[in-house]
Amino acid sequence: MVDATMKSDAAVARGRQSSSLQRTFQRKSTIAFLMTLPLILLIAVLVIYPAFYAVHLATLNKTMERYVGFSNFLFLFKRETFWMVVWQSCIFAITAVIFKAIIGFIVAHLVHNIPSKGQRKWRGMLLIPWVIPPAMSTLAWLWLFDPSYSAFNWIFERVGISPIPWLGDVYWARFCVILVNVWIGAPFFMIMYLAALKSVPEQLYEAAKIDGANWWQTMRFVTIPMMRNIIAITALFSTIVTFANFDIVRVLTRGDPLDQTHVFATWAFRVGIEGGDIPLGASVSLFMVPILTIGAIFILRDIVKRGNEA
């Protein structure tokens, strides 16, 4: 009898166990986790492992034979070129993100006001700079700035304007790399802002109209507050990507003239791969991490705060 009871208890326990396992697998969060698992593994292999490996490399000496702690970073802090690269990366990223945001904002409004029938066509065309592989489109820009065959200078010469040393003069070269980055990146801002604009309830605009709000007041008190989170996230994402940019500078100027267009990634490549000093190159690329982390913390904190207020 006792034995029979014990057997039935065990069966119940097994049943419970299997039903709890079933429940676990039926949970949306579990399914979501399992479906994202391949991506998580991919990120672990392609992002997390290389990131930790870069940290390991940054602590080695030039010949990679012994541990030197933070010596590579301390060495960089004493280099004039390093601080120039820090300064240039900040100018490059901040200026480019500001212009991308402004242009994206204006173009998003223009597209939003196009009747829906023809809007898709414009959206598609405006996204072209963003969908072309940057190395390829930058090569086309390089030809436009070319010293011998520049199309811009050819036009200038025809109208009596002296040719411009687009990539040879420090300020023009910086202008060019920022211009190309803005050209490639502005469509991303445009599409994000357009999505945000479309999600603003029409009733808010009607209410503002009834209250007698003018265009600027509607923009300030309705549109921008409703878009704030998207603006912040887009700016954060773009800042990270722009700070880490490699292809535009590499194709257009390779850091010339006089290293004055280098950003972190291109200088890290010069020092690490071309110069054969991989630990120092790893240290240069890791220097971006604290700058971007601080920026990310501030922006994300603001978004969470606003979310809680709402």
């Binding site: 060495f75 070319d146 010293p147 011998s148 040879g168 003069d169 010339d256 010069r270 054969g276």
Partner: protein, 446 residues
């Protein structure tokens, strides 16, 4: 369970079979000597890869080696990235192609090849000093100097512009198929400066790049050598502030005024385009610019003449951009690789390589520079006749005589071209020298 008995007959048959298997002669399969893989520089000249394939596969067939050759372009640094990745992973090709100062950078991962070089030097004679300097940095040879892809960058000039604007007859000074005429003694860096000014005023500036590229470094390196200016001596001492360096910088200031305004960001293709477009009167380049002009702008090509470098107070130096083949110390088939390296460097094969690349490649052995291939190129006939050294010209590796680990940093970071740009843009010599010293001090880091 009944035990299986071995019959006497079966025992005898088995023993006979085993004995036959042990004593049978070794029959080689089609790839008895294993496999070998090469990561080679992808040649610019059409036909440059094909002739190498023929030579290497001919050896592979004879030695029964399964040979694979990958041609890796320097476009987008594909070759450089492959070298860096293989050195880190300690896996990949057996033999890799190296350039400039790279053998010094990777010396710890390279197998000594002194035994190969002993055989090669015995047949080919003495090697260019500059290549020996880099190849034997570790004491023994750690790479085998290559004919394929090794080049010098002498001036390639417009015959007509030089005659009209500067009054210099290049063909008379450097006649086809002959040694330079006595007038070539007047072809100095001072004459060069005067010609640069005249051509610039006529709208045909010299296309001299000053960015962080090999073309920039090479011509600037030969200018420094011509004045005896070195930033670091052979012992590693920083010798930035010397009368010779100051003299070169003073010269640079004057020359910079006659160059196109954007030379500070030119890449290795910019100077070629400058010449082929018909704008420029002179560039420093191997024959690739002329080859492209022959294809795309034949009217320009027939006015081009390759000739010797200008002479300075310390001599006439042509910048060398060497290539080498190195054997990774993690290679699984070192003996086959060494045998192949000896085969490639046999005089007959060197002859085939030079002809296959239409004279673009320069053998590093003085004894093998007597080929007619350069005299036969045209139009104009004999345009490449003075591409290899003739007369008093010698090769120099830019940034030498600095010890290779420092020289490779000077080279990669293009210190000398940057000094010229700084001076050209109005910075004082003292300030430029202080900047260079600070940069070079950083390169001595271990």
């Amino acid at each position: 369970m009944p035990k299986k008995r071995i019959s006497r007959r079966r025992f005898i048959a088995g023993t006979a079979a085993t004995a036959a298997a042990i004593t049978a002669p070794y029959v080689s399969t089609s790839y008895a000597a294993g496999s070998l893989s090469l990561g080679m520089w992808d040649h610019w000249v059409p036909g440059g890869n094909k002739i190498f394939d023929q030579i290497a596969q001919e050896w592979a067939a004879k030695e029964k080696v399964d040979l694979t050759i990958d041609y890796l372009s320097t476009q987008g640094n594909k070759l450089l990235l492959t070298i860096a990745a293989e050195a880190q992973a300690r896996a990949g090709h057996d033999v890799m192609d190296f350039s400039a100062w790279e053998p010094a950078q990777y010396s710890r991962q390279l197998e000594p090849v002194g035994d190969v070089m002993k055989e090669v030097l015995a047949t080919n004679g003495p090697i260019t000093e500059a290549m020996q300097y880099i190849g034997t940095y570790t004491g023994d040879w750690n790479v085998v100097p290559s004919t394929r892809g090794s080049l010098i960058l002498p001036p390639c000039s417009r015959i007509d512009y030089f005659k009209q604007e500067a009054g210099i007859d290049l063909q008379a000074m450097f006649p086809a198929g002959k040694d330079p005429a006595p007038e070539a003694a007047n072809w100095t860096w001072d004459t060069f400066l005067v010609a640069a000014e005249k051509c610039h005023k006529a709208g045909h500036s010299f296309g001299l790049p000053l960015g962080a590229t090999t073309d920039s470094l090479d011509w600037v390196g030969s200018l420094f050598s011509a004045y005896g200016a070195a930033l670091v001596d052979a012992k590693g001492n920083i010798t930035v502030d010397t009368p010779e360096v100051r003299q070169v910088l003073d010269y640079s200031k004057r020359l910079y005024a006659f160059l196109p305004p954007d030379v500070a960001s030119w890449d290795n293709a910019s100077n070629n385009k400058w010449l082929v477009s018909g704008k420029g009167a002179l560039i420093f380049n191997p024959p690739s610019a002329w080859v492209v002009a022959k294809r795309d702008a034949p009217d320009v090509a027939e006015k081009l003449w390759t000739h010797a470098m200008p002479k300075g107070p310390k001599g006439r130096f042509a910048p060398l951009l060497p290539r080498y083949q190195g054997l990774w110390n993690f290679s699984k088939n070192k003996s086959a690789a060494k045998s192949l390296l000896v085969h490639i460097n046999k005089p007959d094969n060197i002859r085939k390589l030079v002809a296959g690349a239409a004279g673009y490649d320069i053998p590093p052995y003085q004894k093998l520079l007597d080929y007619k291939v350069w005299d036969d190129q045209g139009p104009p006939p004999g345009t490449l006749s003075h591409y290899p050294n003739r007369g008093d010209q010698r090769n120099v590796m830019p940034c030498s005589p600095a010890p290779p680990p420092i020289a490779s940093q000077l080279y990669t970071n293009a210190i000398m071209p940057k000094m010229m740009v700084r001076i050209g843009r109005g910075e004082s010599i003292d300030k430029t020298l202080a900047w260079a010293r600070s940069e070079i001090e950083g390169y001595s880091r271990q």
